[in-house]
């Protein structure tokens, strides 16, 4: 998590119908925030969107 913030936020390249990799809790938090995960860069393995990625994107 510490290094996640340091990583550059590259715009993710995902297919239009692709469900980004994110855990159920992250997905839920995204609806709460009104954010489309589709556009959130993921720093985890295989571009997995972590809770921190989401909060960073929201901030």
């Amino acid at each position: 998590p510490a290094s996640a913030a340091a990583r550059p936020l590259v715009a993710p390249r995902r297919a239009a119908d692709e469900k980004p990799i994110a855990s159920p809790a992250v997905r839920r938090r995204a609806w709460d925030l009104g954010i489309e995960l589709q556009f959130v860069p993921g720093t985890g393995p295989a571009g997995r969107i972590t809770q921190d990625d989401l909060e960073a994107f929201a901030a």
Partner: protein
């Protein structure tokens, strides 16, 4: 209005979907009514489905296991089976759970209305009171119940083949669970999970089985390699497995039901059976609730279309469970029920967070509670092949599992399927004892976006069947040391 009672939320149908929705809505602070035509809550699942079938399957599994103990040094006499007592046990199990539901409804102040419900419009439901411990006899009393939101959870019922005569020796799963007949020869029409589960019970109690299936395989939906293991282990139960075959006629005679088949596996002559189980699928109850009065769209086959929030085309009406589509499984109904209740509560109470609730589970697991169990979740290998998705597979055979060998049950295997490109897990299957208790870990791994390293580096305890999941991940990753080495190319 002219309604007799008014509620925030009315739930139509007291099955797993319905009671979960009603309870969740009540927990969120709403005034809730739950309408159910039968005397007990729990729907198909608790009364004539998931639970009674597993109560019998468990007894069958113990009987089968005991019969194999002689090789291990423990000889039991041939057991005597008291069918009445067995039935009583099954009823006690379901009674315990349905009583529990009643008690929990009371604690939550959910009003349970006994009766047949039908829609009057987008704000009102008609409830015709019913009575009796069994069945749905109408008392004649009718009331109108007003709702701000309605959640339809009226479920499904067994498909009846029209050409089968009315005879106590021809039953659906509900009839089979009653165990009124002790057959020597039994026919299962339909090679799906429900039929094969009931067949397992009857076979252990002494019946010889035939099964007829129109499709080319049994347990359609699961990968062939999983089913093959089950089939080999259970071959001794069957006289005939008729695939690509149709049941076309049946005649009830004093000495049995004579059934005629057509197709690849069909015997020339009609076959005689003591019991015929129809298990050819379930049909949703969408067309039996006057949904049209509220303008709710019902599809041709009786399913009600809904969005990710479980809402029908009418804003005040939601639907969940078997009535909204496949897979017709209790755990799907429960999760959908929670979503519908949350959205209703969000809208009625003005809670923005709840308002946004939606059903977005990536995967819904399936389990055949046969012996061995067959469980699978997410992408199957067959499906990946059909869709041209490149996968990496990790398969751990239970012949290498210390625990499976110690249990004398090493016929199974655990298989994990990873996306070749992203490396994350997209599916998995287990065949073996207790497979159903372990498939949840694969579901969690998929939902979390885990890869083979995540699963393989998670320390699973030794010696368990569950460690086969870690091992399968290691196989996919090439780091497993409990299987022969990978051939170098």
């Amino acid at each position: 209005g002219s309604a007799d009672q008014a509620f925030d939320v009315v739930v139509l149908g007291g099955g797993p979907g319905g009671y979960s929705a009603a309870f969740r809505a009540a927990d969120l602070g709403l005034k809730v009514a739950l309408v159910e035509r039968y005397a007990t809550l729990g729907g198909v699942c608790l009364n004539v489905g998931c639970i009674p079938s597993k109560a019998l399957l468990h007894v069958a599994a113990v009987m089968d296991e005991a019969s194999h103990m002689a090789d291990l040094g423990v000889v039991f006499g041939t057991p005597t089976v008291d069918i009445d007592k067995l039935r009583a046990h099954k009823n006690k199990v379901t009674g315990k759970l349905t009583n529990g539901l009643n008690a929990m409804a009371k604690m939550r102040k959910v009003t349970v209305l006994r009766g047949v419900g039908s829609l009057l419009d987008a704000q009102n439901l008609k409830v015709e009171a019913t009575e009796g411990a069994v069945g749905q006899a109408k008392t004649g009393a009718v009331q109108t119940v007003a709702f701000k939101r309605l959640i339809i959870a009226a479920g499904s019922q067994a498909v009846r083949l029209p050409f089968l005569p009315n005879d106590p020796r021809i039953v659906d799963s509900t009839g089979a669970l009653e165990m009124g007949v002790k057959p020597e020869r039994m026919l299962i029409v339909g090679g799906g999970i429900i039929g094969l589960e009931m067949g397992t019970v009857y076979s252990t109690l002494g019946a010889r089985l035939d099964v007829v299936e129109m499709l080319p395989t049994l347990m359609t939906g699961a990968d062939r390699d999983l089913v093959k293991v089950w089939q080999k282990f259970n071959a001794h139960r069957f006289d005939n497995i008729m695939l690509n075959t149709k049941t076309v006629a049946a005649e009830a005679r004093p000495d049995g039901i004579y059934v005629t088949f057509e197709g690849e596996g069909a015997p020339k002559e009609p076959q005689r059976y003591d019991l015929v189980l129809q298990a050819v699928g379930r049909t949703p109850n969408g067309k039996k609730i006057a949904a049209e009065n509220a303008g709710v769209i019902v599809g041709d086959r009786g399913f009600i279309p809904v969005d990710v929030q479980m809402r029908t085309n009418v804003p005040s009406v939601f639907a969940i469970g078997d009535i909204v589509g496949q897979p017709m499984l209790a755990h799907k109904a429960v999760h959908e029920g929670h979503v519908a209740a949350e959205v209703c509560a969000g809208e009625i109470l003005g809670d923005d967070k709840l308002k946004k609730s939606q059903f977005d589970a990536r995967v819904i697991p399936s389990v055949a509670y046969t012996d061995p169990e067959v469980a699978w979740v997410g992408m199957t290998e067959d499906e990946a092949k059909a869709k041209g998705i490149k996968i990496t597979k990790g398969l751990f055979p239970w012949t290498a599992s210390g625990r499976a060998i110690a249990n004398g049950r090493d016929e199974g295997f655990t298989k994990l399927i990873f996306d070749e490109e992203s490396h994350r897990i997209i599916g998995g299957g287990i065949v073996g004892t207790h497979a159903g208790d372990m498939i949840g870990e694969i579901a969690l791994a998929i939902e979390m976006g885990a890869d083979a390293v995540d699963i393989g580096k998670t320390i699973h305890p030794h010696p368990t069947l569950g460690e086969s999941l870690g091992m399968a991940a290691e196989v996919a990753h090439g780091t497993c040391t409990d299987v022969p080495p990978v051939k170098k190319k």
